[in-house]
């Protein structure tokens, strides 16, 4: 594995499977009386958040704390960033404080990549603009593997999923692909793991270069649903929309929103995912979000274990060459 986790494309299939297997072992920690391991004692993880976030920041914080790392939370609001400090100067400050890992979320695509050139420690991309969000893709892959390749978390299921990829699983990612870092990371990671990914979105919400992505593209959600094992709904990111990408929210919701009638067209075993936060009533109906097929709450729990796995694999060893078996 590389020293940083900037893009889902940095991960080979072996790396990704190792992270998922590690997460699978760490998931058992949740059932124990003491949910803490001493592994990263004395290491410092900085959460550097230039954008609002609830679950990602809390998830990284919980993951680092469960591994006994010290966590420093930094949010752009109320810091010297408000006084005009640049990312580089902030990075050098963190460096001087001895951060072993920096978890960064930034509104500019490529911020994590730039940061990795300035700091000694590992850089974990927790979302950079509309570019990537690799740990979200990892937790999504973990959720899919648990639900569809195992028996949902029992001992037999765990044994069965170890070492497995997502071969043959058909994933449809629906909605605002253009502004979604989650979609890009998921396309890259899920295809690395062997899944067949289809994007279903209005043409205006697909990036120009989508033809070069390792996935299929469709403009019609209804024809894709019966063929899908997983439907991943994306949030309509109105805060990033600078132009009119669709006539009205209501029309978008009618053509690309997942309601109960559409969910009924899915195969029996199919699951519904959403990276959160949801716009209930826009891309996903409340009854779908709360149904048994929805993995939305599970994804949050899996987020902590997956991020623990990543922090463990990036930080526990000496340097970062091949992983010893």
């Amino acid at each position: 594995m590389k020293r940083h986790l900037i893009s889902a494309a940095d991960l080979t299939r072996a790396d990704a499977v190792l992270i998922l297997d590690t997460a699978e072992e760490l998931a058992m920690l949740a059932d124990r009386p003491i949910k803490k391991l001493p592994t990263l004692r004395g290491r410092t993880v900085v959460n550097l958040f230039y954008e609002d976030s609830t679950r990602t920041r809390i998830s990284f914080e919980a993951a680092a704390k469960r591994l006994s790392a010290d966590v420093i939370n930094f949010s752009a609001k109320g810091s010297s960033v408000a006084k005009g400090e640049s990312l580089k100067d902030t990075a050098l400050t963190l460096e001087a404080m001895g951060a072993d890992a920096v978890v960064i979320r930034h509104p500019a695509s490529g911020a994590a990549h730039r940061l990795a050139e300035w700091v000694q420690g590992s850089v974990l991309n927790a979302g950079d603009g509309t570019h990537e969000h690799p740990t979200q893709a990892l937790l999504d892959a973990f959720t899919i593997r648990r639900r569809l390749k195992g028996d949902g978390g029992g001992a037999a299921g765990r044994a069965g999923t170890r070492g497995a990829g997502l071969d043959g699983i058909r994933v449809t990612i629906v909605g605002d692909v253009l502004h979604s870092r989650v979609a890009r990371s998921n396309v890259l990671l899920l295809s690395t793991l062997g899944a067949e990914v289809t994007l279903a979105a209005p043409p205006t919400l697909l990036p120009l270069a989508v033809g070069t992505w390792p996935c299929a593209v469709s403009y019609d959600l209804d024809t894709e649903l019966p063929k899908s094992d997983v439907v991943m709904m994306l949030r309509v990111q109105q805060e990033r929309m600078t132009a009119a990408y669709f006539p009205s929210v209501r029309e978008y919701s009618r053509r690309y929103g997942l309601d109960a009638a559409r969910m009924a067209r899915l195969p029996e075993h199919a699951i519904v995912m959403h990276p959160g936060p949801m716009n209930r009533g826009v891309e996903i109906a409340a009854e779908v979000a709360d149904s048994a097929r929805s993995t939305i709450v599970e994804q949050v729990a899996n987020g902590v274990t997956t991020r623990m796995a990543v922090l463990y694999l990036l930080l526990s060893g000496t340097e970062f060459p091949e992983v010893a078996q």
Binding site: M1, L18, D21, T22, E25, L26, M28, R32, P33, I34, K36, L37, P38, T39, L67, A155, R158, Y312, L313, L314, S316, G317, T318, E319, F320, P321, E322, V323, A324, Q325
Partner: protein, 191 residues
């Protein structure tokens, strides 16, 4: 592991125990566990991955054979508790599988293949500490090769094997390596 790289007595060292001797050593240990724990009441066997786990299962099967009672058996991964994590690249995790009743109030017998520096056992004691509060903890090993770096000793030993630190002791088990043997070789520095 392909057949060509499979460790074989002769090429990879001198066989110290063969499969029959391993079987006898384990059945003696099983008897000793029963004797020392007064019939194996409230005993749990926890193997330390990788090769401690099949050994723990074999001991549990032997105790079942001798006494007609089921002894709960599991595995305890110690990777996250090791003191040498920073000296090596990150390691893949093994599995921790506890019997349904947990370890509280039980006599836990830790099972491993080779006892060397004692650091693995120290990590296992730490890992166990986070899982509950056993009434007592004992240690069973197939081979004790000496050179302890911590004040730790085994309660049940299959074979005491005087070694030099330059030598390598390898335990091969059918479940993992396709045949049973204990080899002692003359290279490297691993246990």
């Amino acid at each position: 592991m392909c057949a060509a790289s499979r460790p074989v007595a002769g090429r990879d060292g001198l066989a110290v125990l063969d499969d029959e001797e391993i079987r006898r050593a384990l059945s003696r240990i099983a008897h000793e566990i029963l004797e020392r724990t007064h019939g194996g009441d409230e005993v749990i066997l926890l193997g330390i991955p990788t090769r401690g786990v099949p050994l723990a299962h074999r001991l549990a099967a032997l105790i079942g054979e001798f006494e007609g009672r089921e002894v709960p058996c599991g595995s305890l991964d110690i990777t996250m508790h090791r003191d040498d994590l920073r000296l090596h690249p990150a390691r893949a995790l093994g599995r921790t599988d506890l019997p349904a009743d947990g370890v509280d109030g039980k006599t836990v017998v830790l099972v491993d293949d080779v006892l060397y520096s004692g650091r693995t056992v120290r990590a296992a004691l730490d890992a166990l500490n986070d899982l509950g509060r056993p009434r007592a903890v004992q240690l069973a090993v197939l081979v004790d090769r000496g050179h302890r770096e911590l004040p730790i000793r085994a309660d049940y030993v299959g074979k005491n094997l005087p070694t030099s630190q330059r030598e390598v002791v390898r335990v091969l088990l059918t479940e993992v390596d396709s045949h049973d043997a204990v080899l002692i070789g003359d290279s490297g520095g691993q246990s």
